[in-house]
Symmetry: C3
Subunit: 273 residues, 3 copies
């Protein structure tokens, strides 16, 4: 990495920001690569919530410059034989546990290289205290990559990688029944209903109606501009998932809904529930 190309790395963890863990990772990275610029994506992922991390990663990563390294340490299977993978998707680099956290990135950014990090698990195990993988495995690897190590040389190409086994929407006679899988600070509700599952079933999505937490939201709109202030609406978001929102308001509040709430898509003529 030449000086003209600043080494940019992002961190996404569930460590919170009160404890010393994120700072220790940053120290290790800066020790390896003093010129690195480190950006926090989030450290407030609910502990061990790989789905939330996967959604947050896919909504932030695409906006970073080519060559950015994204390090993800939301890792409930640490200590098992879960692998660490390094990948290049759409020109950006990702270092992550093979637990499905790459799911939405992989769906929306083209994969170019993927490598199983060889022997990563062995780092630090000589130490008396517990290996803290974020600091002792991921951060040193990040430093090496920032210093120019080609990720394809980190290890062999895997034959496959894990993706999230999200609860699939249930297909019933006249409807698809999904669930909210992420609610943000503004009360926007992301569901597990993929656009393609809807389009595969109904040719004319214009005649569909969406409800959430038992309350009707209305048809699937093309853009937010179709809802008036304070009105709820449904649309397919940039990850291809059905999202329920309120124009300049909180869908979570207006609909009394949150993670786990039912999201139903059905034909308008059946709208009677």
């Amino acid at each position: 990495m030449t000086m003209a190309k600043p080494a940019l790395v992002t961190l996404l963890t569930d460590f919170g920001t009160a404890d010393p863990y994120v700072a220790a990772m940053k120290g290790v990275i800066l020790r390896a690569c003093p010129a690195a610029t480190i950006v926090d994506i989030s450290h407030d992922i609910p502990p061990q919530d790989v789905t939330a991390a996967a959604l947050v990663l896919a909504q932030a990563a695409p906006y970073f410059p080519p060559g950015t390294l994204h390090v993800v340490v939301v890792d409930p299977t640490v200590g098992t034989d879960r692998r660490i993978l390094a990948g290049r998707f759409a020109g950006q680099l990702f270092l992550f546990p093979d637990n499905g956290v790459i799911t939405f990135v992989a769906e929306t950014m083209a994969m170019q290289v993927l490598a199983v990090v060889r022997a990563a698990e062995s780092a630090g195990t000589a130490s008396v205290s517990m290996t803290f993988h974020g600091r002792d495995v991921f951060a040193p690897l990040a430093g090496q990559i920032l210093n120019g190590l080609d990720i394809a040389r980190l290890g062999p190409q895997p034959s496959t990688y894990k993706t999230l086994d999200l609860p699939r929407p249930i297909e019933q006679e006249d409807r698809l029944i999904g669930r909210v899988i992420y609610a943000d600070r503004f009360g926007n509700l992301i569901s597990n209903v993929p656009a393609e599952a809807v389009r595969r079933r109904w040719l004319d999505t214009g005649r569909l109606i969406v409800s959430c937490a038992g309350r009707q939201v209305g048809p699937i709109q093309a853009t937010y501009a179709h809802a008036k202030e304070g009105e709820a609406l449904a649309l397919f978001n940039s990850m291809g998932l059905l999202e329920v929102a309120v124009n300049r308001g909180s869908a979570a509040q207006k609909l009394a809904a949150g993670v786990g709430s039912e999201v139903i898509v059905m034909e308008a003529r059946h709208e009677r529930q």
Copy 2:
């Protein structure tokens, strides 16, 4: 902007730090200007609380180097025809929605240039999903400014700009009745009582007495040094507002007060309430 002058930008939002929104803004800025240094002022402004944002901005911005660009996205009127303004105050740059968030900066830092950002609202509207102005409008504009675009060329000079219509202190026979408008983590209480309103009314402020939430605080002091440890005191802060604090303690706790609590200034001889 030459390379010798690092591009420094601050962000002030109500986005929180759990969701991907702040990171997406940073990605867009770094894509435009890889050498930028980005500093968070706060992302924990209570949602849509323009008054809190205005107070926080005015207490942080003056300490940054000349040429720093401050980007404010606390923007409850997004989606209306509210304008985006770019201004230079006391040698620092500000990019902000015209909703009053600049109020206290404008009162304490001399305005040099102000421009209505032309056509800013149109950015991103071609996208299917909702335009996220922080990422799709403010961040690209910040990138352009960091790359040297003169803010005076962003658009025409406005004839006016919005300031906060703070609740005015009520004038009664012998007293001014104001309210707490901001409480910080340490329990310091900032009120809506301007120094000038007090000085306009009473020539001799030395004979005034302040109470807050029904408890007497004492006279208006020149400095904090006048209160003993654990004692409450009132003074005019650097924004010219009456503030109630406790020397090495929490006024919020000691007085059981918070945002909305009454702050009364009256002549000492009437102190009987």
Copy 3:
């Protein structure tokens, strides 16, 4: 400081991140040293909790590059005649109030230089409003140090410095009784029981048994690898303190324990309590 050596500074405070105080400190530092890289260790130390700050500092600082300046402003005795010290420990620089916050750093990193900062208290006192030491004293000093000022020249070497007077474990006939002094986000529990106090008393630590909050945790393990998933264990952490944890789980939750909970070390044969 040459350009080849980036100026790296960390901040550790109890200011929180909602208010403008951390940003104001960063502004002052960047005004003095525009090329500085600023890393947050934590701003969410419980207000005025010097013990927590001391533990967090000692767990983060050692991972940073040599020459890093760590600025600590957890300072409940601000306003008294408490001194500000500057020290070099194991090649890293520390600027801190002399209130014991350096305790665990001093135990684990070799001290090389220590200086009482001369006249630091006088900074800013001319101002009408309260001196905010983080911004008006610590940040300007940090800027001077980042710009190359030798800390040995800041003032005379002190004959001593404060260390935390942690509650000492109580020695009873067959046991040591300590307390949890820090619980992290993952539910790991750090106690005030030093490894050396245990080893001084019992030659064979292999026959000891630990309990926490009245529940048995088991023997003191050499590494985390000795506990199965979901099982509690005790070990001496990198600061030489007895720590109770659960392999891939939360000891705080499993044992219903937290700061203040009793941690007992006793011989296995007496294990009957």
